[in-house]
């Protein structure tokens, strides 16, 4: 019997409680800056500050099940109808919170109570709409199925239905209140409305025959603000006296229902934003023709690949500038573990390195990734080492810095890690650089971990059967034009050196021509 019943609903983000984030105070992982993941996550959560989503985006999932759980939900949410349903639920919940904030800000009792009542009303409406909306969607994901079950039970429970009835009755009562003010000099009389006729209409009717054409609007504008002054407050007190039953009901209602909000639903409202935020972000790229796919994720297989992938941070920037980005393919097969990236400067090497890291990280969150089709490795750590500006107050030299940092990485690294090295050892002689790089590379090869090694040293490309040489390319006829294409090819430094030399007009012919005798 338990088999056919949906699992009990815990969380829309985590399949089991072990996966949950342990604390809200999760720090941004160290490699975020190198991979420009900080920009990506900032863009994703922009406008959703109230949900504090960053802790979720800073926490990788540790097992395949947890990833699958999210894939199912995310795929389900790609159904536009469901997506809009959730959006409108969030909008209501947001409005409810706005009202609750007002309750705290307002001063007069009957104002506070009315705002509270309206907040509850919005909440009840949000719940009922969502129950109704979800009943019309053919759900498949375990997460949504469990949630729907939970929500339906809640909506039918007595506490909720009586809350709803009470709320509705009280609002209707308040809407039926109609009173009159008789203002004469400095006195105000408050009494019930007794069907006195609308005098403005009568005046209007009297002079209707003179209507000529468009005329000025002489109406004064009054502040739409919620706050009342003490005169309005006294009027309201008297209105309460005119309708004593309604207002004493309001008092009771507020005292009784302070804890109306269901905690698990409130958590759902926050957690579902993880998906909403990500899908809204994805939509921007899809609109320009860029692809996203749900990657196969594995904890064993290191034969990773991605077709038509790209750097999300860069793509975002280029879309804003209205230029297009060049997607790249990569794959590792058999024993291949390490991409050695070389080629002309500004040909897309760093971008490729970042793309590789971003893809793996986003996959570890259970999110779709840039590309047409992908298989990615579920790492347990990512280490990055990108060349940094030299710091003047740093007493150690740059080379020493590099080595200390690399030592740290290699001493912690396991086969389940990913290492991304970008142009290290540029601050020493070529001979030193070759020596050090080879030594580091040997270690990495031994660890059998996935690695991107961006370097200007051609020799590294063919060190082992585990390394794959890929190069950034230029258009042969016009070497100055960069393609940003990264292709598998042996590193043939000379051709590229020449093309760059031509680009800067420092070849023999150019120099003969340019240097006047």
């Amino acid at each position: 019997m338990n088999d056919i019943r949906p699992m009990a609903f815990l969380s829309i983000l985590f399949a089991s409680s072990e996966d949950s984030i342990k604390t809200e105070a999760v720090e941004m992982p160290a490699f975020f800056l190198d991979l420009n993941l900080d920009q990506i996550i900032d863009a994703i959560v922009a406008g959703k500050q109230e949900y504090n989503l960053k802790p979720f985006f800073y926490t990788s999932l540790g097992n395949i099940e947890a990833i699958k759980y999210r894939h199912e939900i995310m795929q389900e949410l790609e159904n536009e109808v469901l997506f809009e349903n959730i959006k409108s639920f969030s909008k209501n919940m947001h409005l409810m919170r706005v009202y609750l904030t007002q309750v705290d800000k307002l001063y007069y009792k009957y104002q506070k109570e009315r705002m509270f009542l309206d907040a509850v009303s919005i909440y009840c409406n949000a719940i009922n709409c969502l129950v109704h909306d979800l009943s019309l969607v053919d759900l498949k994901s375990r997460g949504f199925l469990a949630f729907r079950e939970y929500l339906g039970n809640y909506a039918e429970s007595t506490p909720f239905t009586s809350l709803l009835a009470e709320t509705k009755k009280l609002i209707d009562d308040l809407l039926s209140v109609k009173y009159c003010l008789l203002i004469k000099g400095d006195t105000v009389q408050v009494r019930k409305y007794e069907s006195e006729i609308d005098y403005s209409v009568e005046v209007d009717k009297t002079f209707e025959k003179f209507k000529q054409g468009a005329v000025k609007d002489y109406r004064a504008e009054f502040s739409e603000g919620l706050t009342m002054n003490h005169v309005e407050a006294r009027v309201l007190d008297f209105v309460a006296k005119l309708y004593p039953d309604i207002f004493s009901n309001l008092d009771d209602y507020c005292a009784k229902n302070a804890d109306y909000l269901n905690e698990r639903i409130s958590i759902f409202d926050r957690e579902i934003q993880f998906y909403v935020a990500y899908l809204e972000y994805v939509a921007k790229f899809r609109r320009t023709g860029l692809k996203f796919c749900y990657p196969q994720v594995s904890q064993e297989c290191k034969e990773v690949f991605d077709f038509e992938g790209y750097d999300l941070a860069l793509a975002n920037k280029l879309i804003n500038e209205n230029t297009s980005i060049v997607p790249n393919d990569f794959y590792l097969k058999g024993k291949e573990r390490i991409f050695v990236v070389s080629g002309p400067n500004q040909g897309g090497k760093t971008t490729f390195a970042r793309t590789f890291g971003q893809l793996h990280y986003l996959a570890s969150l259970g999110c779709p990734v840039p590309g047409k089709e992908a298989r990615l490795f579920l790492f347990d750590r990512i280490f990055t080492h990108f060349e940094k500006e030299e710091k003047l107050n740093n007493l150690r030299g740059k080379l020493q810095d590099d080595l200390v940092r690399i030592y740290d990485i290699l001493s912690q690294a396991t086969p389940n890690n990913i290492i991304i090295m970008n142009e290290i050892f540029t601050s020493t002689t070529l001979k030193d650089a070759i020596f050090l790089s080879k030594a580091v590379m040997e270690k990495i090869i031994q660890l059998d971990l996935l690695c991107i090694f961006v370097t200007f040293i051609d020799e590294l490309a063919s060190l082992s059967e585990k390394t794959v040489s890929i190069v950034s390319t230029v258009v042969p006829e016009n070497p100055a034009l960069r393609t940003y294409k990264i292709v598998r090819r042996p590193a043939d430094g000379l051709a590229y050196a020449l093309s760059i030399a031509e680009k800067y007009r420092v070849t023999y012919d150019y120099l003969k021509e340019r240097i006047k005798s």
Binding site: K216, Y218, L236, K241
Partner: protein
């Protein structure tokens, strides 16, 4: 309430666009002389007259509608001037006494509106009295409707209701406002209510004693006083708006009346001036644009008449069924004056005015255009023929079937043979397009060419020259002559006798 004294079913639009060739028409026909005579020093009348004269009506009914009203005006000129005066005074008194309110404070808007309304109602009463007293003296459909409308809409009962409102709106018994509970239980939907009669509410108080709570703003509570005044403002906001807009509407009614009367007062002014000079006027007989009519007796150039002390020479003509009228002959023989009198009479007829003639009948034209020889281009940007042809080209952009074109010595900026050829091609094309043409020319070759064709729809006129070389300033029928008697002119100026 609408005056509808200029058009049967629409307000007169003082902001209307004038035809694009308005500057040329004004200059070539000397229109400002005519308009100044109508204005008699009143700039507003000048403006209305200018707009009216230059925006020709294109259907017979509209013209006859105005002609009838103008006839009423001529027989009741004192009453007309009274109505115009009432309209003018009503507007001036509002301008003088009330600043237009900002709309920021409903109570001051209401206060000003009530005062303004009281003033305007006074002028409405005056207007209504005229309507009541003189309705029988008017025969035109326009005035009959106008006066009947005033009598119907402005009954004594109506004035009584208005007075009631204006008294009520001073709120001696306090302001009664209904309200409901809006967001956060804050009052909303403030609606001004009419207090039940005092007697009734007194009775209610005795018999039913409904609950009511009263409080008073403390003397030194300035914030409270402001808050109360804001509540009151919300209550009277709509009624203040309604009354201010109504006052504005009534003011627009007077503005429209003033505008429409301005045209007729202008006609009266002109009529008085011409009568003093004993120049004849008549109501012209317009016929449909598709027909070709042009017959008149004693047609004179009204502008010339206004600027001379003696009477001017009138011309007679029957050019019915003619599309083309070519006028040749003596310099200073009255050709330009004649051409101008044709244009002015056409404009006056097509705006519903009387015509400066003993009798006048013409078909309506769909657009009047003039092409006169201009002074040498002082800016030196283009040659004279360039300038002339470019003007011609912009006219061609706008002419259509049944337009009327007045040419005065056009194409004279080149030699006679070339000028004639351009003119010939030009005129032939316009005729085929059903355009009516008056052409004053010295281009003999051109005139002769058309004369030789013996066209049924063309007529040739000549400035009369007596055997002794003297001019009568009369335009008569006659074939083109080879010379234009420049020598006569030379002789007359240099007084060189043979």
């Amino acid at each position: 309430m609408k005056a509808f004294l200029m058009d049967r079913d629409q307000d007169f639009d003082l902001q209307r666009e004038l035809p694009l060739n308005e500057p040329a028409l004004t200059q070539d026909l000397g229109l400002n002389l005519l308009l100044n005579a109508m204005a008699f020093g009143d700039q507003f009348i000048f403006e209305v007259a200018r707009k009216t004269v230059l925006s020709s009506l294109n259907n017979l009914d509209a013209i006859l509608y105005r002609q009838d009203i103008l006839k009423d005006c001529l027989t009741n000129s004192a009453i007309i001037r009274d109505i115009h005066e009432i309209a003018t005074q009503s507007i001036d008194s509002i301008k003088k006494h009330y600043y237009w309110f900002s709309g920021k404070y409903p109570s001051s808007t209401l206060y000003s509106s009530v005062e303004m309304m009281e003033t305007l109602v006074g002028f409405l009463r005056k207007l209504k009295n005229i309507a009541e007293e003189h309705i029988d003296k008017f025969e035109s459909a326009g005035f009959a409707k106008f006066f009947a409308m005033l009598n119907k809409e402005l009954s004594d009962e109506y004035f009584a209701i208005v007075q009631d409102h204006l008294r009520e709106l001073k709120f001696r018994g306090g302001v009664l406002i209904s309200a409901e509970l809006g967001r956060g239980n804050k009052g909303t939907n403030y609606v001004l209510r009419k207090l039940h009669d005092r007697k009734q509410s007194w009775r209610e108080r005795i018999f039913t004693k409904k609950p009511a709570y009263t409080f008073r703003i403390a003397n030194r509570d300035e914030i409270g006083a402001r808050a109360l005044s804001e509540l009151r403002s919300q209550g009277i906001n709509l009624v203040a708006n309604a009354l201010a807009q109504s006052a504005e509407h009534i003011l627009s009614f007077f503005n429209m009346l003033k505008t429409e009367m301005a045209f007729y007062v202008g006609c009266l002014n002109l009529h008085d001036l011409l009568a003093q000079k004993e120049e004849p006027t008549c109501f012209p007989l317009p016929v449909a644009p598709g027909e070709r009519r042009e017959h008149f007796r004693g047609l004179y150039d009204v502008c010339l008449a206004l600027s001379l002390n003696q009477r001017v020479v009138g011309n007679d003509l029957n050019a019915d069924d003619k599309d083309l009228v070519i006028i040749t002959g003596a310099n200073q023989g009255g050709k330009s004056t004649f051409l101008r009198s044709i244009g002015l009479a056409q404009l006056m007829m097509q705006c519903g005015m009387f015509a400066p003639a003993a009798s006048f009948c013409a078909n309506l034209c769909d657009g009047l255009f003039t092409h006169y020889k201009r002074e040498e281009d002082v800016t030196m940007t283009s040659g004279k023929l360039d300038e002339e042809l470019s003007r011609m080209s912009s006219i061609v952009d706008h002419v259509r079937a049944n337009s009327l074109l007045l040419f005065n010595e056009s194409f004279a900026a080149t030699n006679e043979r070339e000028g004639s050829e351009i003119a010939r091609q030009f005129i032939s094309a316009l005729l085929e397009k059903n355009i009516k043409i008056f052409f004053v020319t010295h281009l003999h070759q051109f005139a002769q060419d058309f004369y030789d064709r013996k066209m049924e729809n063309a007529i040739f006129l000549r400035a009369e020259r007596q055997a002794d070389g003297g001019r009568t300033f009369k335009i008569i029928k006659g074939a083109p002559l080879e010379t234009s008697y420049g020598q006569d002119l030379y002789n007359s100026i240099f007084k060189t006798d043979n």
